[in-house]
């Protein structure tokens, strides 16, 4: 199993995502995909990492969503390929129309870093098969524009269709996301986005290893685990 991590100018967490993926799928099995290239190099799963793609100017994720690499990622996703968007990457996937909703400025208006608890709501997506429903994951969140928003009708539909993948545990929804939603998936359940950073939770030495479960999940889908 090979994982590709898209690298935009201004990405910050792409190397962390790469290392996290390697820990999960084996060394040498992850590589960076340059934003200007359409070639996904035959990878089996794609991570759109966090950071400030194109400086996050205009609107977080807006310019990155239109890059050549994202065109290929969209096609890959439509064909059922597993795609994970983290933080800025989640915003990029929303801007690209691959995931519902969008991100607004935190209610507190500031950038906040905090280790939060994530409640797994759906354990049957391409990126959560290694978790259990109701499991609490300790994962850092860090953003200024991380208030996930969708109109009420959309939220109701997502809840009904079981497309809510993560919620913030009580007290941890510091950005004010609709319905405490921290991550969602598409209808086909192969594309998942979340605001917190599982790639920063893959080693107990740096705080938690709970995030590894996400990176291991595509393996289970592929029947490798």
């Amino acid at each position: 199993m090979r994982v590709g991590v898209v690298q935009f100018p201004g990405s910050c967490d792409e190397v962390d995502a790469l290392l996290a993926a390697e820990r999960a799928v084996g060394a040498g099995n992850a590589e960076l995909l340059w934003h200007r290239d359409r070639d996904l190099k035959g990878v089996d799963a794609v991570v759109v990492p966090g950071g400030f793609s194109y400086g996050d100017y205009l609107r977080a994720g807006a310019i990155a969503a239109l890059s050549p690499a994202m065109e290929s990622v969209a096609a890959f996703a439509r064909d059922g390929g597993p795609v994970l968007g983290i933080c800025n990457g989640f915003q990029v996937l929303c801007e690209a129309g691959l995931l519902p909703g969008t991100m607004l400025m935190n209610v507190g208006r500031r950038f906040v870093f905090r280790q939060v608890e994530l409640d797994v709501v759906a354990a049957d997506t391409a990126w959560t098969r290694a978790t259990r429903r109701g499991q609490l994951l300790s994962i850092p969140a860090k953003h200024q524009t991380g208030r996930w928003y969708a109109p009420d009708e959309t939220v109701e539909r997502l809840v009904a269709d079981d497309q809510v993948v993560f919620r913030y545990a009580a007290g941890d929804n510091y950005n004010g996301s609709s319905d405490g939603i921290a991550g969602v998936c598409n209808a086909a359940r192969n594309v998942v986005g979340l605001m917190p950073h599982p790639e920063h939770a893959v080693d107990p030495l740096t705080g938690s290893a709970d995030g590894l479960l996400l990176f291991r999940s595509p393996l289970e889908a592929a029947g490798v685990a």
Partner: protein
């Protein structure tokens, strides 16, 4: 090149924490209270072809889920 100005506003009903902060700050600074404070973006640019502006807004400058826009082109 025609000069254009695009006003981008948060859609009605969406919480605008910056607007709320301004509303709260005004009386504290000794000003009369204000209402319906909304903070958006202003994009000004010279374009070769003003008919492209709507597509530019839809595709890049504004997010229709959360924002409305208004295009003003100088005569």
């Amino acid at each position: 090149m025609p000069h254009a100005r695009i006003l981008i506003r948060p859609k009605a009903g969406i919480l605008d924490p910056q607007g709320v902060a301004v509303e709260q700050a005004l009386p504290q600074l000794g000003f009369q209270p204000a209402e319906n404070v909304r903070i958006g973006r202003l994009v000004e640019l010279d374009v070769a072809d003003a008919t492209e502006l709507e597509a530019i807004c839809d595709k890049l400058l504004a997010n229709p889920l959360i924002e409305d826009y208004e295009i003003q082109v100088d005569a």
